[in-house]
């Protein structure tokens, strides 16, 4: 379990700076360092176990369905990386303490840094592919945050996004690779994966998997062609560069290749890809390192180059190559971190990182000069420093590999060229900063930084020398288990400074000499390069992203053109297609039942319906005519219902139709009276074809159903209506009892419509023409006397009819809904005849509560049945005999129907009366002509600040 704490402690450590941030920087720094330090100690404490050949592992079940366990291991490789991550991390914390300005949010910085540290430890220790991926992506994220730390700088933001995009994309490829790998192996457990090398190599999906995994690794380790993001990541504060972009994060890709080495290396494909990419990266980046003018830029490209070197070694893949790779990881981390810190110190003290403005700093900053010289020499591979040993090993492996058959000389030659360039840029780095005179003066007068700020770099420099001098003593304890972890077996080796005179030594010598010469000539080279101005990767990247964004925008605009007509066309086309597919599967349209004979009335009815239906469409540009046609359709539809034995439907349709008419006319008043001719003939034709098609499909489907007999559940309703529901009108019993829940939903819909319309009408001010579309000024007679008189007779009659329809609904056609509509229409007649003000004065209550009360009553009927232990909406009924009056039947369903009645009355009046009220109080006596010409007249404009409420 202690193992679990090693990644967990740094993860918890993210909170420490957040909590201690307000207590001052020294305390915060100290507190932040504590948990990583403990984690480092715990890591080292595992050494004995490792020495004994154990691999400490811990696993907690997390998502077993996925094969995802929270599993960690601490083998040699993890140990090596943990030491690097935590060790250098601690040094960086110390360094950052001095590096950051007083004004900067150090707590946030530390939090990001620790988050990053924790995720790196997680990668190093992950014992499950998915866990590894999790931490992998977390490093991308934390590096995004760190690179963007100076978020006010444009290059920081761009660099952060670029890093995020590239490593994020790599991470996604890696995920796919991991899942494939898990699929091949049948487990995501690292141990199982590592032991299944043969299975993996034999699997046909291996190449794809390998490419995906390597994509991830290369993107993270900035290998060609994904190298471009790393230099731009240098926009980050220098501690970040030192830590992430030299010592740790960029090594994650290398780590991954080493980690999965037993599982996925060992094929020709592996060597080919990895070696080639590595060597190309190495040389290419080294070249750029030489010609960069920015201190951190040089270091960044040199980092890329060295990562290439390590990649080559992993590609070669022999045991000694692996050892060399791991050893170079260690060495590179030490000298490169120190170099970054030095460059940060210089930047900090001199105020610039531009080589042109730096020079002759040796006097002002002697200690820094020494440190930088040592570590620079290590980077160049000068003997006696650690870099020399691993580079020597690299040359050896480059010579010994036979990966490229006849071209086997290519590798050593390129390796040597890389070495030459490496020496050249290292020399340039040290010489230009400390010894040669500057071309322009630096912004600040440089001096040595505080001692403790130097200390981490000094320590690392000392390590460079110690390891360089006593490699076996200093590094074997780390290297042996690490190599064993990668090779899955112990490797006998001896790290030594001196291997005798041999070809690699000669190559080193060549590199040194040629490197110095190259540096001396480098101005000419740079002059040469300047003729081909290098393109800025960030600008290209931004351009590409911008271009993709624009392209995406254009595509989106093109696809989604905000045209309802197109959306509707698509919807209808989809329906046409699926309907036609169904229809096509019918063998015969006419079923066994066949057609009943047609009589003249039906024919005339159908003729009228078809005629007015089409008429509604044809006349749609003259809206009122269209509306009248529609009204006839409604009438005929209700006649159709009556004709085919559905009196309830006929009644409902009739009353709804009238209310709809009134509603549409109320609304039409505020809308244009005519529709402009806008559809092109082609468009109209297309719509016509589509609609005819869909109409045809609907007709066809209707016909197929109509000509077949159906066994349905309806017999149950016919049988149980009287005994079970206490009503003779089966339709009504279904509505209020068998399927009362539908009806409850339905009146809820109606009530919501009322509420929604109330919302829409609130503070709505609309243009009110003072003349009709022909220019006739409205008739002066608002409330025609005969109409008003008749309305007062019709209202009581309508109410009486409502009561009649309501009471008999359970046994005869009728019911609460129709009754409600009749009541509503009766009241609407009064509104029409006498106006809102007059009516409102006499009908002084809001309709919303009525509608809601109706829903409430219906719901209460439902709840009532709970009292009797029955399910919601269970009905009961009884016959009661009252003297003189006779038998009467009472059913709870009637109460439910009362709810329906109230809801309908309330909602309908809420809709119509509110709509009627929209204009009434504001109707201007006369429009002013300007407003009329503008086509819009508002009595008060809605406030622009969005305070308008709906």
């Amino acid at each position: 379990m202690t193992l679990l704490w090693i990644p967990l402690l740094p993860l918890l450590g993210v909170l420490v700076p957040a909590l201690t941030g307000s207590r001052g920087r020294p305390l915060c720094t100290l507190a932040t360092a504590v948990l990583p330090a403990i984690a480092l100690a715990m890591t080292l404490a595992q050494l004995p176990a490792l020495g004994a050949g154990d691999i400490p592992r811990v696993s907690l079940s997390w998502v077993p369905q996925l094969g995802l366990d929270l599993a960690f291991r601490l083998d040699g490789l993890s140990l090596l990386f943990n030491v690097l991550i935590l060790g250098i991390g601690l040094l960086i914390i110390l360094y950052a303490h001095y590096y950051l300005d007083a004004s900067e949010n150090y707590a946030r910085f530390y939090a990001y840094l620790i988050l990053f540290m924790a995720s790196m430890v997680g990668i190093a220790m992950a014992d499950n592919l998915l866990v590894l991926w999790f931490f992998w992506e977390l490093t991308s994220l934390s590096s995004f945050l760190l690179i963007g730390f100076w978020s006010h700088r444009s290059e920081a933001r761009k660099g952060a996004r670029m890093a995020m995009t590239v490593t994020g994309a790599g991470g996604l490829a890696l995920l796919a690779g991991f899942l494939l790998l898990g699929d091949i192996v049948g487990s995501l457990d690292m141990q199982v994966v590592l032991e299944s090398g043969e299975t993996i190599l034999a699997d046909p999906r291996y190449p794809l998997m390998l490419v995906l995994v390597l994509l991830g690794a290369f993107a993270k380790s900035a290998q060609f062609p994904f190298h471009f993001w790393l230099p731009h990541a240098m926009a980050a504060p220098t501690p970040v560069s030192a830590y992430l972009h030299s010592a740790t994060m960029v090594k994650a890709g290398i780590f991954l290749m080493a980690r999965l080495h037993p599982a996925i290396a060992g094929s020709e494909l592996w060597s080919a890809i990895v070696t080639v990419i590595g060597i190309v990266t190495m040389v290419y980046a080294a070249w750029f390192a030489l010609i960069k003018a920015d201190l951190k830029g040089i270091l960044a490209f040199s980092t890329v180059s060295h990562l290439g070197l390590i990649t080559v070694l992993l590609g070669i893949g022999s045991p000694m190559a692996v050892l060399a790779a791991l050893f170079h990881i260690l060495n590179h981390a030490t000298f490169k971190a120190a170099l970054f810190m030095c460059s940060g110190i210089i930047d900090h003290e001199a105020g610039t990182r531009d080589l042109a403005r730096l020079g002759k700093l040796a006097k002002a900053m002697p200690v820094t000069c020494v440190v930088m010289s040592i570590t620079g020499a290590a980077m160049a591979g000068v003997p006696l420093f650690n870099g020399f040993i691993s580079k020597e090993m690299f040359f050896t492996e480059a010579l010994e590999t036979h990966a490229f058959g006849g071209l086997s000389l290519v590798l050593p030659v390129l390796a040597t060229i890389g070495g030459v360039l490496s020496v050249a840029y290292s020399a340039r780095l040290v010489h230009a900063v400390f010894f040669s005179p500057p071309r322009h003066a630096p912004p600040k007068t440089p001096h040595e930084p505080p001692h403790l700020m130097r200390a981490p770099a000094e320590l690392l420099a000392v390590l460079c020398i110690l390891v360089g001098l006593f490699p076996a003593l200093m590094a074997t304890w780390l290297m042996a288990p690490a190599v064993e972890a990668v090779l899955l077996e112990p490797l006998e080796f001896h790290l030594a400074l001196w291997h005798g005179f041999n070809l690699p030594l000669a190559m080193s010598a060549v590199a040194l000499v040629a490197g110095v010469i190259t540096y001396i000539l480098h101005r000419k080279i740079r002059q040469f390069v300047r003729d081909f101005p290098p393109r800025d990767a960030s600008r290209i990247f931004e351009g590409v992203i911008q271009c993709i964004g624009d392209r995406a925008e254009r595509i989106t605009e093109c696809v989604d053109n905000a045209s309802l007509q197109r959306f509707m066309t698509l919807l209808l086309t989809a329906s046409l297609v699926v309907g036609a597919i169904g229809l096509a599967q019918m063998d015969t349209l006419t079923g066994a039942k066949g057609n009943q004979p047609v009589d003249g009335v039906l024919l005339v009815g159908a003729l009228l319906l078809v005629f007015t239906g089409i008429g509604t469409a044809i006349t749609h540009r003259h809206r009122l005519i269209s509306l009248l046609m529609l009204s006839v359709v409604g009438l005929l539809v209700s006649l159709t219902f009556a004709r085919f034995s559905a009196p309830d439907l006929a009644l409902t349709q009739l009353s709804v139709e009238v209310v709809t008419m009134i509603l549409l006319m109320l609304a039409l008043f505020f809308l244009p009276q005519k529709t402009p001719r806008e559809s092109t003939p082609a468009r109209a034709l297309r719509d016509l074809v589509l609609c005819t098609g869909l109409g045809g499909v609907i007709a066809g489907l209707n016909y197929t159903v109509l000509t077949r007999d159906t066994e349905s559940i309806s017999d149950f309703f016919l049988d149980n209506s009287v005994p079970g529901g206490g009503g003779h009108n089966v339709v009504n019993v279904i509505l209020v009892d068998f399927r009362g829940f539908d009806t409850l939903g339905e009146i809820t819909v109606l009530a919501i419509a009322g509420l929604a319309i109330f919302k829409l009408l609130n503070r709505l001010r609309l243009f009110m023409p003072h003349s009709d579309s022909e220019g006739r000024i409205w008739a002066p007679d608002r409330y025609p006397m005969i109409l008003t008189t008749i309305s007062q007779t019709v209202l009581p009659l309508a109410l009486l009819v409502s009561v009649f329809i309501f009471l008999r609904g359970h046994n005869q056609p009728g019911g609460g809904f129709i009754a409600g509509l009749i009541t509503a229409v009766g009241l609407i007649l009064v509104y029409m005849a006498r106006g809102v003000a007059w009516t409102q004065k006499r009908l002084d209550f809001p309709y919303q509560p009525v509608a809601i009360l109706g829903v409430g009553v219906a719901a209460l009927t439902g709840f009532g049945s709970w009292l009797f232990g029955a399910p919601f909406l269970t009905s009961s009924f009884g016959h009661f005999h009252i003297p003189l009056i006779g038998d009467i039947e009472l059913a709870t369903a009637m109460l439910f129907d009362l709810g329906v009645y109230l809801a309908v009355v309330g909602a309908t009046l809420m809709i119509l009366a509110n709509l009627g009220k929209v204009t009434t109080p504001h109707r201007p006596a006369k429009e002013d002509h300007d407003a009329t010409e503008r086509g819009l007249h508002r009595t008060d404009d809605p406030t622009p600040d969005g305070k308008e409420t709906v």
Partner: protein, 89 residues
């Protein structure tokens, strides 16, 4: 005899409906169309009553009643619309 009478009557009412449709379609003015609509309502009542007689069923009486009551309101609404624009003011 009754059947024949019923058929004749139905045929006449249907013809009447077609004539209404004619007036509804050709107009020429809105009031003409409304008049056609109104007449259609009334003729529908006739149709429903005749259907009731034909089927010997009183189930459809309410539908006729409702048309008599509501068709009028519909007509009034359109007239009011043409007269005043705002039918509830």
């Amino acid at each position: 005899m009754l059947d024949t009478a019923l058929t004749i009557s139905l045929a006449l009412v249907c013809l009447a409906l077609l004539l209404n449709l004619f007036r509804l379609t050709v107009g020429p003015d809105m009031p003409d169309r409304i008049l056609a609509l109104d007449t259609m309502y009334v003729n529908s009542i006739a149709l429903i009553i005749l259907m009731g007689v034909w089927l010997n069923s009183k189930t459809y009486f309410e539908a006729a009643l409702l048309i008599a009551l509501l068709g009028f309101i519909s007509t009034i609404a359109v007239c009011k619309y043409l007269l005043r624009g705002d039918i509830i003011e």
